[in-house]
Every structure is written in C-alpha cells, then in structure tokens.
C-alpha cells in the first residue's frame, strides 16, 4: 500500500549546474546573512563597554583640614562609571597625601607592576604591594621591588573649599589620564 502512495518515481532530470550553483549560493548566502544579522548586534553588546557618561567625575573626598600636612589618608569615592546596582563594587579608593599647606597628591591604589592594591604603612612611610613585594615612597616613587614606574595619580584640586579627586578607572601603562603632580586651591592638577 505504501508503495502505491509513494511510488518510487523515475529519476527526474538533473537540475542545470548553474541553477544548482545558484541555489547553493543562495542557501549559504541566506544562512550567512541570518547569522550576521544576529551576530552584529551581539558583538555590539559584547564589545561596547557600558559607559555611563557621567558629566562630572570630580568627587569631593573631604575638607582640607581632614588632611594634616605630611599625612597620607585613604579616601573613598564613587567610581567613574558605576552601575545603579553596583553596591560597594561601585566605589573606589585613593591615597591622598597633603604635601604642604596648599599642595595635595592623590595616588591610585593599583600597583604599577601588575595592578594589585597597595596599602599605606604609616610606620614605614611606604606603600606596599602584597602581590610581589613592590614598595613606593610616600611621594609615590618606587622604593623597591618590581614596579616599573611610580604610582599613578588622580587629578586633585581644592574646589569651593573641598578636596576633590577626578575619578578615573584602572590606570594603564600608556594612560595619559593619570599622572597629576599635585593640586592646590582651585587649580586642578592633571596631565
């Protein structure tokens, strides 16, 4: 019965070669197009960093009197691009040193060797890195160990009576954003 319903048909004429090639190209082309149509927006989503362009990345970190001359203090502030749900991970830290009455310096907490967080040791007057033993003097210059360059700096200024740091992300070896030399009243330091 099956053979009646589905009789083995005679071999039909071969499709012309050009038509076959065209159909093959069509299948591959349409498949490729569909794949690309999905991949392009995916790549856009994957490659684009979620910059939340905060127009003002200056963060107040205290009053000048909070920083005695010659002392180094850790300050905590909001990231340059925190997500609303970032919680504590949306915070950053910096080491602020008051060099003189009107000069401040702000160092990132990232060791310039491979990026571990450095701690300030008051007694030794050194920034120490716990990963590979790098050490920096109070002015951020390399004191010992493998770091290739001084600690990177945040731009810092005194603005409307407050000490402000310009929040920037993790420093890069070739980054021009970091590297301010020190800040005074309303005269921001920076690159």
């Amino acid at each position: 019965m099956d053979s009646d319903l589905h009789p083995p048909g005679p071999d039909g004429p071969e499709l012309p070669l050009e038509r076959r090639q065209f159909l093959a190209m069509l299948v591959l082309g349409m498949g490729g197009l569909a794949g690309t149509a999905l991949l392009v927006p995916w790549m856009g989503l994957f490659l684009a960093a979620p910059h939340r362009s905060d127009p003002d990345t200056w963060r107040a970190v205290g009053e000048p009197d909070d920083f005695p001359i010659g002392a180094t203090r850790k300050v905590i502030f909001r990231d340059p691009d925190p997500l609303p749900w970032a919680g504590y991970s949306g915070r950053s830290a910096a080491w602020v040193r008051r060099v003189s009455d009107d000069e401040f310096a702000a160092f990132t907490t990232y060791c310039t060797h491979v990026g571990c967080a450095v701690r300030w040791e008051e007694g030794a007057q050194l920034f120490l890195c716990p990963c590979h033993g790098g050490a920096f003097h109070a002015d951020g210059t390399v004191a010992a160990g493998p770091p290739p360059r001084p600690l990177d700096r945040f731009p810092i200024r005194i603005h409307e009576g407050r000490v402000e740091i310009q929040a920037v992300g993790m420093p890069r070896p070739d980054d021009a954003t970091h590297g301010g030399q020190g800040g005074g009243p309303d005269g921001e330091s920076g690159p």
């Binding site: 490659l47 960093a49 979620p50 910059h51 850790k74 905590i76 990231d79 340059p80 691009d81 925190p82 997500l83 749900w85 970032a86 919680g87 504590y88 991970s89 949306g90 915070r91 950053s92 830290a93 907490t109 990232y110 060797h113 491979v114 990026g115 571990c116 967080a117 450095v118 701690r119 300030w120 040791e121 007694g123 030794a124 007057q125 050194l126 120490l128 716990p130 990963c131 590979h132 033993g133 050490a135 003097h137 004191a143 010992a144 160990g145 493998p146 290739p148 920037v168 992300g169 993790m170 890069r172 070896p173 070739d174 980054d175």
Partner: protein, 482 residues
C-alpha cells in the same frame, strides 16, 4: 513485562534510527597496539575530559539555579549555597575540583600528544581545535574565579586587565573589554557570568564535537614506533591497512579502560569535594579594602610566581609576548613539524620540552604556594614579657622593628617575614656599621630608611637585632633569601 520492554526498545531503535550509530560504535576500529600493550592507558585523557566537562555542566547548572550574578548579592548567594542549601557546598566543591581536574587532564592529554607526536599528519586540525579547547578551558577557570566574587577573584581580574593593558596598540581596548568598564564591578561580573555559563560552554560543546569528529575521521593515533616516520604520501593507506589487519574494535576493547579511568577521576573529584569542601568565597571584594593579600587559584599560581622571579629586563617578554604568542606558537606546532618520526626516543627535544615545562610549572607552583616575597603583614610585635630582661634600647628597638615595618620582611627573634634575609644570619656576617649602611641606604629590594629613622632609632634597632641574634641562634636548616 520483559517482552513489552523489549518491544518498546525495538520501537525506539527503529524510529530513532539508532542502528547506524550502534553499528558505527560496534565496528569502529582502532590501532591494535592500544589493546595489546599497556600504552593504551596513556590514550584515556581525552575521553575523561569530555566526561568531566559533562560533570561540570551538571554541577554548574545546579549552582546557576541558586547563584545571583549581582555585585551586591553574589557573595551572599555563595554563602547561602555553602551553608543553607542542601548539598550546595558539596556541589560547589564538586564544581571546583571538577575544574581542577579539567585543567590537569587537558595538560596531561596535551603532554601525551606532544610526546607521541600525535599532532602530526593527518591530525594537524585535531591539535589546532584542541589548542582552542585548551584556551577555552583556561578561560573557564579564569572567569569562574571572578564568579566566586571574593577579593582573590577580583584581584586576579585586576592583574589580568593590567597585563592586557600592556599589550601594544590594543592594550587599553582589551582592558576595557575584560573589565566591561573602567574597573571591576557589576558589569564585569555580568559579563563573566554570561561568558562562563553560556558562551564558553557552548563553544566548548561545539569544539568537542569537531574535535571528536576529527579524531574519528582521521582515526585514533597509534602508539608510535621508532623508525616508522609519518610520510603524508603513504600514511593514510598504511594506517587503514594497519587497523584492518589488527581488527581491534573501540567498543569494548578500548572503551573499558576509558570507563575505568573516568570512574577513577570521578572518585578523586568526589573524595576531594567530600573531604576538603567548597573553595571560598574569601573576603568580599570591596575595592576600597586595601589590606588584603590576594592569590590566584592554583592553575595560575605558576604565572603569579613567574612574574616575581623574572628579571625586570624580561618584563615585556613575560607580561606581553608570552601571553600574546602562546596561542599562535601552539597552533603552528603541527604546521612546522607535521611529518617525520613520532617516537619519543627519536624526538628527545619534544620529551625535554614537556618534561622541562612540567618541572618549571611544578617548581613555580610550589614556590607560589608559600610566596616568600610577600611581606608578612600579620606579624605581631614581640610580647613585652619576652623582653623583660632586655635593656631599654633593645625594647625600644624591638618596638621600632615592628612599627617601622622591618619585621614584615625580616626575621629577628624568631618572628617576621621571609622577603629579606634572616637577620640572625646577617648579624653573623655583617658588622653593625655595615648593617647601618644597609638600613640607611637600602640594598636590592630593601628601601632606604635614612630619611625616616633618627640616629637613636637606628642604634636601638641595631641593639635589638644583635641582642636577638645572640639569644636566637640561627637554625642551620632554615633558608632565607640572600
């Protein structure tokens, strides 16, 4: 009942078209040496990898049902898994030790292939797809660390991003790509979660499919024999003849070994998970908390150690060119050395390369487990009771030794870090004047303290160091960094 079950089985067998697959499995032939010699035991790692990966999918799926990839909740959800969810901690442990097993097995598999020259013609693509799988497995290990969302995981990503930042031209872009922003945060966690749970596993599944297809279509490599080089003109016909003449089937002649080995690996993973429990999470990854001593998981510990031991002149080689060129170098291996002898006895360089790589890896990992170059931040001051008999300058010196951070790096009076020399030994070879020069000017990795210490402090420090050395003779078996 038996008859009914048999009928159901026959129905499924027919409708699912299982016969060709079963016939293929039953009749697939492998080189006879895999059965006739014990060398076959070295051919079991690849199959074990597939089964451990399946275990990772199972345990990972279970964990994903409870884990929250949010920076605020991830750490708490892991604590919840560890302490509240039935089997939660055990499944986390299975997943961690499963990941460790994958890393071990992928390198064991790779070592066997290099030593036996199995990457040579016609299996070049098997090797290349295997290299991609190796990097995907390492990427899974790397992304998995961040999902633990503790300070170790976050610091590892910080370090990776910092290293990528050194790459020429695209460094900054790569850094932002990994961080998914400018610092490790919520976006990084979301990205790593998607990569770890969806993207990389899908790629691994697809590539395992291609890898297995290539292994079956090119045939399982035969154990090499000295004096039987691979010649592309004759190898395929010789291999087909060799398999036919050997008439050895994969199932069950070889498969039993693989099953036994997989069960053994599973037993080890289960035992480790049962006795050692889940890994972490450690302290929450508060980016403002700088008083931490981060360390990567054991798979990356060798590199962490290498970064310390490399001379500064090799910075670019270790931090840029090595990670940049490792992939293309491995891909090129079969394309450059794809023919000729496969036997290890005729390829001493291949054996030396694998052996040397293993020795270097094991040595660096061992050093990384107890890194002496990290200052001992937890070292405590000498209790006053232990200094009761000491003169006042010694007591002041002991206090300064701790307060000025000397004790982080030096041992005196049986306490302190191992970064710098053990001062019990140094006092035997250095006069107080020579010691003073070192303290004031610094030497090697020791910073200069001349600008910081008063002359009285230096005198007190010297008094304590020499006093302690007299009472605390150096242990002859104890080493220290020169």
């Amino acid at each position: 009942v038996k008859g009914r079950l048999r009928r159901i089985g026959s129905w499924i067998h027919d409708r699912a078209g299982l016969e060709p697959i079963l016939r293929f499995v039953r009749e697939y032939k492998v080189p006879p040496e895999l059965v006739r010699t014990r060398k076959g035991w070295f051919w079991v790692f690849g199959q074990a990898l597939v089964f451990v990966f399946l275990a990772q999918v199972v345990t990972g799926t279970g964990l994903a049902m409870k884990y929250i990839p949010s920076p605020v909740h991830a750490w708490d959800s892991l604590q919840f898994l560890n302490n509240e969810v039935m089997w939660g901690g055990f499944v986390r442990a299975l997943h961690y030790f499963g990941a460790s097993a994958m890393v071990v097995l992928v390198f064991a598999h790779m070592a066997r292939i290099v030593i036996t020259g199995s990457y040579k013609f016609p299996r070049e693509l098997n090797w290349i797809t295997g290299v991609v799988l190796l990097f995907l497995i390492l990427a899974m290990a790397f992304t998995g660390q961040l999902l633990r969302w503790d300070h170790h995981g976050v610091a590892t990503v910080d370090v990776a991003a910092s290293i990528l930042g050194r790459f020429p031209l695209v460094g900054g872009w790569l850094m932002e790509l990994v961080l998914s922003g400018q610092t490790v945060g919520g976006a990084t966690l979301s990205r790593f979660f998607a990569l770890h749970v969806i993207v990389f596993p899908l790629l691994i599944v697809a590539l395992i499919g291609v890898h297995l297809y290539l292994a079956l279509s090119n045939g399982v490599s035969e154990p090499p024999k000295a004096g039987r080089p691979v010649d592309p003109a004759t190898y395929r016909s010789w291999y087909a003849r060799h398999k036919e003449e050997g008439n050895t089937r994969f199932f069950p002649d070889v498969a039993w070994r693989e099953v036994v080995f997989v069960l053994l690996v599973y037993a080890v993973i289960f035992a480790l998970a049962f006795f050692l429990g889940p890994k972490g999470p450690g302290a929450p990854p508060d980016p403002t908390f700088t008083e931490q001593v981060p360390k990567p998981d054991w798979y990356f510990l060798w590199y962490y150690t290498l970064i310390w031991y490399k001379p500064p002149a090799l910075d670019a080689v270790v931090l840029v060119w090595f990670p940049l060129l490792a992939f293309p170098a491995l891909v090129l291996l079969p394309l450059l050395f794809g023919t000729g002898e496969r036997a290890p006895s005729r390829r001493p360089w291949a054996v030396a390369a694998v052996g040397g790589a293993f020795v270097i890896w094991a040595t660096l990992t061992a050093f990384g487990l107890r890194p002496h170059w990290i200052p001992d931040f937890d070292t405590r001051p000498v209790p006053a009771a232990m200094l009761a008999e000491a003169p006042p300058e010694v007591r002041d010196g002991a206090a300064a030794f701790h307060a000025r951070g000397c004790q982080y790096c030096h041992v005196a009076y049986d306490r302190g870090g191992a970064y710098g020399p053990d001062l019990n030994r140094s006092t035997a070879r250095l006069s107080p004047e020579e010691m003073t020069v070192r303290i004031m000017m610094g030497i090697g990795n020791m910073p200069a303290y001349g600008h910081l210490l008063t002359p009285a402090e230096v005198d007190n420090l010297l008094a304590y160091i020499y006093w302690a050395a007299e009472r605390d003779a150096p242990d002859p078996g104890e080493g220290s960094r020169p």
